[in-house]
């Protein structure tokens, strides 16, 4: 087993562990900290694939800015330990088997087709930040610009739902 593969499995295991812990923790702060673990391990995985820009953005934006906001909001709301309702039991007995089944189907499909996958579209080209930005501002300029409207809608929505009644 090569070194890269070892690192991959360590990071993947950390990401999965973080994600499961995020759901199982009953205190919001613990969940938020688990989410940081997921974000950081994902950043490591991106780095492993040679996508250094995405990895850096993942750390700065998600691991940093977004998580700080999460933690702030949790503290501002003074959120305590969550209450479990009866519906959560249904989630345990119905949801977990179904989630495992879905995971199994996805894993099986990926395992069965791993042999005949096409190589990445432009091998190596995607790795550099320069190539990425070229793509964003030429071929994908339309969805890129649309994203700004998407963010505008989100801001507008937040204002509409949060503003005081006048």
């Amino acid at each position: 087993m090569s070194g890269v593969l070892v690192i991959f499995f360590v990071l993947a295991a950390l990401a999965v562990f973080g994600a499961v812990s995020l759901i199982l923790q009953s205190h919001p702060i613990h969940s938020a900290l688990s989410l940081i673990l997921v974000m950081v391990s994902l950043a490591g995985l991106y780095l492993l694939m040679g996508a250094e820009f995405i990895a850096a953005v993942q750390i700065i934006v998600y691991g940093g800015a977004v998580m700080v906001l999460f933690v702030f909001v949790i503290m501002l709301l003074n959120a305590g330990v969550e209450e479990r309702t009866n519906f959560s039991k249904l989630a345990t007995f119905g949801g977990i088997p179904l989630a495992l089944a879905l995971g199994g189907i996805i894993a099986a499909a990926i395992a069965r087709s791993s042999g005949n996958l096409p190589p990445p579209a432009a091998s190596g080209a995607m790795t550099s930040t320069r190539e990425l930005s070229k793509l964003l501002f030429s071929e994908f300029v339309y969805p890129f610009e649309l994203t700004s409207f998407l963010i505008l809608v989100a801001i507008l929505g937040a204002i509409v739902l949060a503003q005081r009644e006048n």
Binding site: I105, I106, A109, I110, R112, S113, N116, L117, P118, P119, P120, A121, F137, S138, E139, F140, V141, Y142, P143, L146, T147, F149, L150, L152, V153, A154, L156, G157, I159, V160, L161, E165
Partner: protein, 487 residues
């Protein structure tokens, strides 16, 4: 590299809709007059729709956007729906004392998102369009912030909608993994037998199935439709649904791997959706909720036509042309009628939407003869009676299904239409043959507001036009150009 002028004109409708949305937000501090804002938003909706006139046919933005008769049809459909919904919202916003500018801006942004969906030829672009329309929808659903139901509707829609979006996105990732591209044209040339591609397409179907409220992804629909402000419900039932069906049909017809693989998926989805929608509607006493279930059932009828597309595509003589035409015609008739029906429900509901039960509709035939007559027309159209748009919509779906030899599907659809007759006719019977229990509340609406009456009149005329003279619109949806571009 700047996009060419022709490319920009191809997305002019989206630019105009977004531009008017931004302008509305900027105007809001200066223009306090609600009618002025309504008029401005309507001009925006209409201008965006008419801007399709200038677009040149063809693909733009490096093949990300396809401007063809097919996307033109859906641009007109969502633009018209937005125009009518804005007009119908005017009296609603006054009655409920809600801020108009943001409301209209959100509707226009949502419409732009639907426009993107209708012309997207690439999955990431489609994803952004889907999110633009969805996020606006989440906020619009919770626009009545003093109402618990409205907030519940927004939270439910947001959580479940995000979940469905995750499926859609994961599907895109897997399809990209299998084909090395997110462009539909390039995905079409990937190995159709690839398990990864099929899995990706299945997850995309789950994500989009949620947005069109196909069972078993429909759980959110009744609560969200019931809690949202009624003009918004009209928008939900018509616009995003039609635009998502447009994307589904485009993916489905472009990628051949999907054709045989999705056939049984559509067959099963159609049957389950029809039964869940119709049986659910049977037991409802709240008219708004009943119409929500009815819109699930109608998603099922549309999916019958999708199943027919699959088998007819293999027919060398006709191809799938009649099945496409059935989908488009059906969606047009259905969307308009839903807008009309929900507009009437919105007016009858009164302040705070309190009068929505069947009992509140009792005696409407004598109290508000015109509203009752229009409601009757719309319900008959939803049922599929002759001389209404719904009749030809259902007729063409039936015809397509029979031509594809989907006999069981036709039988099950007939059974469902019969179930539907019970709850649609029940409302009509209650309106005309039952007296209102006790006194009519003093604050119940005595007539439709002028703006709502305009919407209802337009929709009623359109329903009759499509029901009496379907050939004109049918000629458009059957045009060779459209069929070719849909491929």
């Amino acid at each position: 590299m700047t996009p060419s002028a022709a490319d920009l004109i191809r997305v002019l409708p989206e630019i105009i809709w977004c531009g008017f949305g931004v302008l509305l937000m900027l105007l809001q501090p200066f223009l306090k007059n609600r009618q002025g804002l309504t008029l401005f938003a309507m001009v925006g909706a209409a201008a965006g729709t008419l801007a399709t006139y200038f677009g040149q046919m063809g693909s733009g933005f490096f093949g990300l956007v396809q401007f063809d008769t097919y996307s033109l049809f859906f641009h007109w459909l969502v633009g018209l729906v937005a125009f009518l919904v804005i007009l119908a919202s005017d009296s609603y916003l006054e009655r409920e004392n809600l801020a108009p500018a943001e409301f209209y801006a959100l509707i226009l942004f949502a419409t732009a998102g639907m426009g993107v969906l209708a012309s997207a030829q690439e999955l990431l672009t489609a994803f952004i369009g889907l999110e633009m329309s969805s996020i606006s929808s989440y906020v619009l659903a919770g626009y009545r912030r003093d109402s618990v139901k409205s907030s519940e509707s927004a939270v439910k829609y947001f959580l479940l909608g995000s979940f469905a979006t995750a499926f859609f996105l994961y599907g895109i990732a897997l399809v990209y993994g299998a084909s090395g591209s997110t462009n539909l044209m390039q995905i079409a040339s990937a190995d159709p037998g690839s398990n990864l591609l099929r899995l990706g397409l299945a997850l995309i179907l789950v994500g989009l199935g949620f947005k069109v409220a196909a069972a078993p992804f429909q759980v959110w629909t009744p609560d969200v439709y019931e809690g949202a402000p009624t003009p918004v419900t009209a928008l939900f039932a018509a616009g995003p649904k039609a635009a998502t069906f447009a994307l589904l049909l485009r993916i489905f017809t472009t990628i051949h791997a999907a054709t045989d693989f999705w056939f049984w998926a559509f067959w099963i989805l159609a049957v389950v959706t029809m039964f869940v929608g119709n049986l659910g509607a049977l037991v409802q006493t709240n008219v708004k909720r009943m119409l929500a279930y009815s819109s699930i059932a109608h998603a099922g009828y549309t999916l019958v036509a999708f199943a027919a597309v699959t088998t007819m595509k293999l027919d060398p003589e006709t191809g799938a042309a009649p099945a496409y035409a059935a989908v488009l015609f059906y969606l047009l008739g259905y969307s308009l009628v839903k807008v009309g029906a929900f507009t009437i429900v919105s007016e009858i509901g009164g302040q705070g939407e309190r009068y929505l039960t069947l009992d509140d509709f009792a005696g409407l035939g004598t109290r508000q003869p015109l509203a009752a007559a229009a409601m009757t027309l719309f319900l008959l159209s939803l049922l599929g009676m002759p001389i209404t748009a719904g009749f030809f919509g259902k007729f063409y779906v039936f015809k397509a299904a029979i031509n594809s030899k989907l006999i069981w599907l036709v039988v099950l659809m007939t059974i469902n239409t019969a179930i539907g007759a019970y709850y649609y006719l029940r409302v009509i019977v209650v309106m005309y043959m039952r007296e209102h229990k006790g006194d009519v509340p003093a604050d119940a609406a005595t007539s439709l507001s002028p703006t709502a009456a305009m919407v209802v009149a337009v929709v009623a005329l359109a329903t009759l036009y499509l029901g009496l003279l379907p050939n004109h619109v049918l000629g458009i949806v059957l045009s060779q150009d459209l069929i070719l571009s849909a491929r």
